[in-house]
Symmetry: C2
Subunit: 404 residues, 2 copies
C-alpha cells in the first residue's frame, strides 16, 4: 500500500513551526516521499534517504494539540493512542517539507495530520548514515605534539561569543583547555565561569583556595605531591568540568600534571582485558569526611556506555575507602587498580605544565586526571583557586550561542 505523492499545491511554505528554538538550517529539501503504513520513506534532494516510523512521526507531531505552544513540551500521550499507529498518506509540501496523515484514532474521528519542517527532519533522521554523521567522539591526545592543551585568550572568552564557543568546544572535545591573560586576582575564576552559568557548589564550597594549610582537611591543602586523580570521586555524581585558576605560583615545584584517562583506560583494555572488565563493572568505595560531612559513594573505576565507549573515570587514592567487595574479587580488583595506576603514571598519557598567574586550566573531570609535583612553600607563594561547572550548562551555553 505504498503511495507516492507529488507536491500538492503551489503555495510556498517557508518554515514549519516545530516548537523548537534551535537552528536547523534548511539545506536540503524533500524530493519525494512514500508511505508504507508503519514507515514513511523520505528521499532528499541530495540523494539521501531517511526512513521514519509512523509511531515516531506521530510522537513528534508539533501541532498545538500535540506540543504545548508556550512550554514547547510534548502534550501528546502515546499511551492513550492506538496500539498500532499507521500513516495512511504522506506528501511533500511546497518548500520541501513533509505532511503525514495517520489512521483515525477513534471511530468517526478525522485522521490526525502532522507537518514536519525539512530542516528539523533532516537533523532528526535516525538512519544509520545520519547517526554516523552526527556521532561525537572525544579527540585523542597526542601528548608529544604541543597541541595539548589548546589555549584560548581571556579577552576573547569574556567579550565574544566566538571566543566563548572556542573555549567550551575545546573543553568538550579535548577535555582540557588553557585560558591565558586573565587578571591574576582572587575571584576572577567566578567571573569567567559566569560566562557559562552558576558554578556547582560542593562540600568544599563554590570556589576553594588551593594553598598549603597548617591543619588541612584534604591532601590538596598540603605541599605534598598529588598522584593523578579525579576530584570528588566520593560523590554520587562527581563534578563534570574543573576550573583551576592561578593567582600566584612563586614556589619551587608544584607543576600541574594532566593525564588522559581515556587513553590510559584504552591501554588497559588492550593490555589487560580482564582487569579492564573488572574495573568497568565492579563498583568500589569512595569516601571523604571531615568535621562537617561524611560523603560516600560506590561506583566502578571506569564507566563505559551501552556501546562500550569509556565515558568516565573515577580514580582517587585519598578518597578510596576501605573496599567492601566480595572476597573473591578483592585481589583481582587490587591487581587491576594497580595496573591502571601504572598506566596513569605513564608519560605517554601525560602533559606537565607550570601555571602562570592569570592562567586557568579547565578540564573534564570524567576524562582527565590531574596531579601536581610537590612544592616547597618556603620558596614562595602558591595560590590557586578551583571550582566546578556542570556539563549540562557548558553544552547548553554552546547550543545557545549556536542559536544566535
Amino acid at each position: 500500500m505504498a503511495t507516492v505523492s507529488a507536491v500538492a499545491d503551489d503555495e510556498r511554505i517557508g518554515r514549519i513551526d516545530m516548537r523548537d528554538l534551535a537552528v536547523y538550517p534548511m539545506d536540503h529539501r524533500i524530493a519525494a516521499v512514500s508511505c508504507g503504513g508503519d514507515r514513511v520513506t523520505v528521499d532528499w534532494d541530495d540523494g539521501r534517504q531517511s526512513r521514519f516510523h509512523a509511531v515516531w512521526l506521530r510522537d513528534n507531531c508539533a501541532c498545538p494539540a500535540c506540543r504545548h505552544p508556550q512550554a514547547l513540551e510534548r502534550s501528546f500521550l502515546l499511551v492513550d493512542a492506538p496500539e498500532v499507529i499507521r500513516a495512511t498518506a504522506a506528501r511533500v509540501l511546497p518548500g520541501g517539507h513533509l505532511e503525514v496523515e495517520f489512521e483515525s484514532e477513534a471511530p468517526g474521528e478525522p485522521p490526525h495530520r502532522s507537518r514536519f519542517d525539512a530542516g528539523w527532519l533532516r537533523r532528526h533522521c535516525y538512519s544509520d548514515w545520519a547517526r554516523a554523521e552526527r556521532a561525537w567522539r572525544p579527540r585523542p591526545w597526542d601528548t608529544g605534539s604541543r597541541s595539548i592543551p589548546p589555549t584560548v585568550d581571556y579577552r576573547a572568552v569574556m567579550n565574544s561569543d566566538t571566543g566563548l564557543a572556542e573555549w567550551l568546544t575545546a573543553m568538550r572535545d579535548w577535555g582540557v583547555v588553557l585560558l591565558r591573560g586573565a587578571p591574576a586576582v582572587p575571584g576572577e575564576i567566578q567571573r569567567i565561569a559566569g560566562r557559562v552559568g552558576p558554578m556547582r557548589p560542593t562540600n568544599f564550597g563554590t570556589v576553594y583556595d588551593v594553598v598549603s594549610l597548617p591543619n588541612p582537611n584534604a591532601s590538596a591543602y598540603t605541599p605534598i605531591g598529588l598522584e593523578p586523580h579525579t576530584d570528588l570521586a566520593n560523590w554520587r555524581r562527581p563534578p563534570d568540568y574543573q576550573l583551576l585558576f592561578c593567582v600566584a605560583n612563586e614556589a619551587v615545584g608544584g607543576d600541574s600534571i594532566l593525564v588522559d584517562g581515556y587513553g590510559a583506560a584504552e591501554a588497559l583494555r588492550e593490555s589487560d582485558p580482564d582487569g579492564f572488565r573488572l574495573l568497568a563493572t565492579q563498583p568500589i568505595d569512595f569516601r571523604f569526611h571531615d568535621d562537617g560531612c561524611d560523603i560516600r559513594d560506590r561506583a566502578p573505576t571506569i564507566e563505559v556506555d551501552a556501546e562500550g565507549q569509556v565515558v568516565s573515570i573515577r580514580f582517587n587514592n585519598w578518597l578510596r575507602a576501605a573496599l567492601d567487595l566480595p572476597e573473591s574479587v578483592m585481589e583481582p580488583t587490587y591487581r587491576a587498580l594497580r595496573g591502571f595506576w601504572k598506566l596513569l603514571r605513564d608519560p605517554r598519557f601525560q602533559i606537565r605544565l607550570k601555571l602562570e598567574p592569570g592562567e586557568m586550566l579547565a578540564f573534564d573531570n570524567a576524562r582527565v586526571l590531574h596531579g601536581r609535583a610537590p612544592f616547597d612553600p618556603s620558596t614562595g607563594h602558591r595560590h590557586l583557586q578551583g571550582g566546578y561547572l556542570d556539563r549540562d550548562l557548558v553544552l547548553s551555553r554552546l547550543r545557545l550561542i549556536e542559536r544566535g
Copy 2:
C-alpha cells in the same frame, strides 16, 4: 606457615586511632587470629569469623605514615609497594584489637606494622555474612496499608536530631515522606532544607513556584494534569530528592499522585522481560529548552546496578526528545515505553493525596514518579514551592547525626 598468636602483653588498649570520625561501637573483640601469608583470619568473641587479605590490611593501615593525620586521607601508595603483599605475623592486642606485621618492603627495611581497631574492623569485614548484614534495600510500598507516605512533624524535624534523622531515614528507605505542621509561607521550604544543606540549583532556580502562569515555559506551570514523571530527566544527573511544599491549595482538583517506580519496574521485568531489558540498556533522549537554556541528555529509562537491582528511573513525556535510536530498536523501544507507562498508571503502585497548606512532600526522584490531577485555577489559589536536595548531603547529614 599459619601462626596463631595469643594476647601478647597485658597493658590495656582502649581504642586504636583509625583516622576515622565515624562511630564504630566496640561490641565485639577479637578472640584469636591466624596469619596465612596473603590472608589474616580473625575469630570474634561471638564465634563469627572474618578473613582479610593482606593487601587490604596494608592498604588500610592508619598509621601517620600511611594516612594523613589531619586530612584523614590515605597517603600510602599501593602502586609503589611490592607486587605481592604478605602478612608475616598477626596478634591480638589487649582490648581485642589486631596487629599485623608485613613482609619487609625493601632489603634492610624493617617490616611495616599496622594496628586495627576491633570496632572499625568488625564494621569493615567483607565476608559474605557481614556484607549480607549491612545490605540496604529500599522498603517496598504497600499502597493499601496507609503506611505510605510515612509522616513526620515539622517541629521535630526543625528542633531535634532525632526528628531530623526520622525524616531523612524515611526519605532514604521509603522514597517518600510527608512533613506536616509547617508555617504555610513562601520560603519555608528553604528553611527546612537548610537542616540538611544547600539545595541544588537547576535551570529553574533553587526554589521554584508551581503556579499556573499565562506564558509557561514548562507544563508544570499550567493547570493541566501531569502524567507521572521524574523531574529533570534531561540533566546528566537528575536531582536526587525533590521537596514539594504547599503554601496554598484552594483550587478544585490538583491532587498529588505518587508512583513507586521500583514497583512498576519490577512488574515490567516480570511481565515483559525483553521490554525491561531494552529500557534498562537502551539510552533514550531527553531535552528541555527555553529562552535561557537547552539541556539534553541520553540515558536508559531504567538504571540497574551491577547486581541487577533497579536504582533509578527516568520517565518524562514532556522532556522526552525526538528519539535518536538505531532503526531496528525504535519500535521495540516505543512498545516497551508504552508498557511501562501503563504500569506507572496502575493504581496498585500509586498513592494520591491533596497537600494541605504547611505540608511538604519529600521524595526520591530516582524512585518515585509524581504527577497531579488537573485543577481549575478559577476556583481558588494554588501555590506550591519546589526544590531539590542532593542524596550525598542527605546521607552525609544522617551519618553526622549518628556520629553525635
